[in-house]
Symmetry: C2
Subunit: 576 residues, 2 copies
């Protein structure tokens, strides 16, 4: 099923085959899931088999030049013509051109196209349509279809993201995905009982992103830690050899927290995946209760994990000094793939605001004295407790801080509304605090989920391993606490002395983890082929590999580059 | 003079000519300054004229595969042969290969090579030598010289950074740069009165980096703010058109502080440049008093400005949503150039530790009751004062915080030493706090320098302009305070209510600045050719430009890419 394809296309094996993005990802991660999620059983029967077999290759064409975040604003139209029982797909403006779909440039011959549905003179908003783009034999774009590749990007340059315009292209009625809403032969529009049913695919991809972000971060950490054991630099003590740079506490501080970040994200991803599967089955049965909660959590976890993983990968790169800047370290490419996750499938700020909307409702429920759902129950129970050197204090403190930030944002928004400001403007004016509250909520969740998962794992592993795993959990807790230090000191009774102890605890943990650092990243068991890094290979032959990679540069094929005679020599000989 | 070449090679005109780095930069920024700084008058007479005329093109070959930060560990040797009065330059190992010098791959025919000087059987440490690399007519590498290009990098892919190995290459004695230390004909080594005299060039480049970081950040901010006025997205109010995304407070919060960051860095750069010129003349006169202070400040300002500018540019890119990820936005390339500054000319962590070393000495001077030099005088005078809504409170609070962090690091280091830990280990164990203290010192300096400079500027500008400039200064102060919020609450009597007021002040300033945001970035007066961005052009024709750039993609030259018949078709037709 899809879970296996995730393995192939995601951070692991997939990235070894196609280092900088795969043109088939959209086929598996968006095209097929969308047909499955929004197609009728007949439509699934017709299309899924072909797609699984790769008789056809699909992509997902939603975003347009002019609209990404605001999909209700898409301009592409699908107008029903009852005479021929066809939809006419059309791009009325330049900004309505589809822009971004992966694999669209040269690979896909079909697409799910999202367009404004018009029938019998009325617009019913956006719906999804299966559109054939290219001839299955010749691969030529079909009449009325204009396709191209969008050009170079920061990364993902092997995905051939494309653009797509339609000049009144006709498709049969049955190619509108009609599991939920339908257009009958005569053009009558029949609405589904719940429009929320289409949330499924979107949520699926966000769940996948949390895991992928963790996996890419993992690769970067393996590379940086292995390199930091090979690399020796500086000579603090005149009579001793240069230390491995991993012996510098600043280096440990850059890297060790990222090992634990991998675990933290992975456990949140697992929880999210289980919850997603739960909610999906409930949705099938028409139950929608848990959907808002899943949605709110998927949004902020996607935002936090993609942001932190991208920053973490850059931290790994910078921690490798100059050599990290080489493409052969594979760290720049890894960053390019992960920072894209901050934007696609919901821009992170926009996602945090969606979580915030849920949290504002939750706080209102609390104020009204009603029962809170599980992931926000802490808004009721969180307490400000006296500092203790353990992760439970950190978790309860982070929850207390999140509750206070949610409360404050709620209060400020209501004050603005009471002053006569419209609710939309009040929302906007409070949005810095709203996004910060959503982030605090997500961070508290991640640490507490990490801790909960460890409670189970602790029971199953040997005592020495347990010790190390708990050190990592503690380290993640501390570094999260330091990230939120301003808030903790603002909202709780924590003191300067407490922070001094936290700092000591941090330093102790780094020292304790040092002997196991390499073992920990080796245990991730990522093959050299998957790491694809001159700095991170298992054998540690860093310098040989860097040199070998450089030798492959096409610029080294001749001792004097052809540009010399053409440009450089005349320049040198000229009188400046 | 050099200052003019900075204009051409640096962030402005240079980046328009060579978007992704210039192979001649090292010639002007390192080769010539090094010969001027370390060469005798005769050497300057011989080489500078040729170099200025570009009869020869030089690079600066210091870093090796195995050593960047720790230059004392360089392995390349220069062994003096009194019989022929030559130095023999040699690369004894793979790790001793020079690696990184800009323009070395294909452009330069000369280099300043840094090598371990051996004469009469003794090693005297690293010295600089002018070495011819290529034939001036044919450009062929000279016998014994192995040159190549190091391969693809995250950025700067038009600088042809190179590698360089020597197989017993002989150069005349007079090509050792001998302004300071000398080797006489018979091989006698004559030491200079002060080895600090060679600090000049290194410091020069760090000063340049602060200004360049500011200039690149400026470009990114112009692009992001202009785009944010063209881009309209989402529809908060059902009956109104989509707002310009710059009307979202979160968007303003991402971008407006970066306008002020540009000014902040620019004023620090100006101060640093003046101080550099001062100190340089004093050095010529044998006065070394101000050198440590300049060194300490150049280190932390280079570290902070490169880090913040890189983060700021990424913030700009992400704030442009999907289109920021296009190379045609020019934001990815700009990031690539600036993030490199975090590593070259002193890796940022290493630089912060150098500043910290100065600060530890300064604190000791304070403890000993002696007089402090100007840039650390605040360690004596800083006070914790009651919150007031103005930038002066912020500055004195940041200084107070920096003083406390310096004190705490000093105290913790000494406690460790008293416990019997060696001073080197104590230094390492305290290094997280040491780097944080150096950063706090630098941040306090930047805001206070910004404020001081504004005091002068205020007098010369119209009242409406003055108002806006003060808003920007205040905004920079507030955002710095929020960056240091944990520390402020940890070390001062600031309260939760104070922070709430700070937040309100921030929100008010964003709203006040909104009408002038475009005017402010237009006033930077950067031409479209220099911005090179589809998103940032003055006319705002974003979508047309994006499309036009995409049309240029070589992948769009044929409707069906040649890979279809070769790979994709067989794949589609196969039975999976
Ligand atoms: C590498 C990559 C691959 C992609 N692949 C695909 C694909 O296969 N198929 C596809 O259909 N699309 C794809 N996309 C498009 C992607 O889904 C959009 O770019 C994404 O949804 C962000 O939308 P946007 O570009 O419109 O950003 P914008 O919405 O324009 O964001 C710009 C800025 O505006 C702010 N903003 C916008 N709305 C609000 C609001 N209401 N409140 C506050 N701030 C706001 C944002 O925070 C951001 O700072 C891809 C994009 C990338 C980068
Ligand atoms: C784009 C680019 C262009 C360059 N151009 C040139 C050029 O033209 N000529 C030239 O000679 N060189 C050039 N360089 C090389 C550059 O000067 C070095 O990469 C830089 O000095 C950093 O040194 P490193 O690579 O040895 O890093 P490393 O020292 O190996 O750093 C790796 C890690 O070790 C840590 N570390 C190292 N020492 C210590 C310590 N004592 N205490 C705590 N932590 C420590 C660092 O903080 C970092 O996290 C260039 C580099 C780049 C990226
Ligand atoms: Ca307090």
């Amino acid at each position: 099923g899809i879970a296996n394809y995730r393995e192939i296309l995601g951070g692991q094996i997939g990235s070894a085959i196609m280092k900088d993005g795969n043109p088939l990802t959209l086929h598996y991660v968006m095209f097929i899931p969308t047909v499955m999620g929004q197609g009728t059983y007949e439509q699934q029967a017709e299309w899924i088999q072909k797609a699984w077999n790769c008789d056809i290759v699909g992509t997902y064409a939603q975003t347009e030049l002019g609209h990404g975040t605001f999909i209700r604003g898409l301009e592409t139209t699908a107008t029903y013509d009852p005479k021929t029982e066809e939809f006419v797909i059309h791009s009325p403006t330049l900004t309505s051109y589809k822009w971004w779909p992966g694999g669209l440039g040269h690979t896909a011959n079909y697409a799910v196209v999202v367009a404004q549905l018009n029938t019998l003179g009325k617009c019913y908003g956006i719906h999804s349509f299966i559109v054939q783009l290219r001839d299955e034999e010749t691969h030529k774009p079909l009449p009325g279809i204009k396709i191209g590749e969008i050009g170079c990007k920061l990364g993902m340059n092997t995905t051939n993201n494309g653009y797509l315009g339609f000049d009144n292209v006709r498709i049969p009625r049955k190619q509108m995905l009609m599991k939920n809403n339908k257009v009958l032969k005569d053009g009558t529009y029949v609405e589904s009982p719940s429009s929320k049913l289409t949330y499924g695919t979107m949520m699926f991809v966000r769940v996948v992103i949390v895991q992928d972000a963790a996996d890419y971060l993992k690769k970067a950490v393996i590379i940086a830690i292995r390199y930091s054991c090979v690399r020796r630099q500086s000579q603090p003590k005149p009579d001793e050899p240069e230390p491995q740079i991993l012996d510098y506490i600043t280096q440990q501080y850059k890297l060790f927290p990222l090992i634990s970040t991998y675990y933290a994200f992975r456990y949140s991803a697992t929880w999210l995946w289980d919850m997603y599967n739960n909610v999906s089955s409930e949705l099938e049965a028409g139950m929608l209760d848990q959907l808002p909660e899943l949605h709110a959590l998927a949004c902020c976890l996607k935002a936090i994990s993609s942001t932190d993983a991208a920053l973490g990968i850059e931290m790994c790169r910078l921690a490798c000094g100059g050599h990290g800047y080489m493409m052969s370290s594979n760290l720049p490419t890894t960053y390019g793939l992960v920072t894209a996750m901050c934007t696609y499938e919901g821009e992170n700020t926009v996602l945090l605001l969606q979580t915030a909307r849920f949290l504002m409702k939750a706080w209102q429920i609390k104020v009204d004295g009603q029962k809170l759902t599980p992931t926000v129950e802490y808004l009721q129970s969180a307490r400000d407790t006296v500092y203790q050197r353990n992760v439970h204090w950190i978790i309860s403190t982070l929850q207390y801080v999140a509750a206070r930030k949610i409360e404050l944002a709620w209060q400020h928004m209501n004050e603005r509304i009471q002053k006569g400001i419209s609710s939309e403007d009040a929302w906007n004016q409070t949005s810095i605090e709203l996004t910060a509250a959503a982030e605090a909520h997500g961070r508290a969740f991640i640490v507490s989920m990490y801790c909960t998962t460890m409670e189970d794992i602790k029971k199953t592993v040997s005592k020495p391993l347990r010790l190390v795993l708990i050190q990592l959990l503690d380290l993640y807790g501390i570094t999260t606490a330091f990230k939120c230090l301003g808030d903790i000191l603002r909202f709780t009774k924590a003191t300067g002395a407490d922070i001094e102890d936290l700092q000591l605890w941090l330093e102790e943990l780094l020292t304790l983890l040092r002997p196991n650092a390499v073992g920990l990243v080796d245990s991730f068991d990522v093959r050299d082929e998957v790491l694809s890094s001159a700095l991170g290979a298992y054998d540690g032959n860093v310098y040989e590999r860097l040199f070998e990679e450089a030798s492959k540069s096409p610029l080294n094929s001749e001792p004097v580059h052809k540009s010399f005679d053409r440009y450089l020599k005349p320049f040198l000989k000229s009188q400046l």
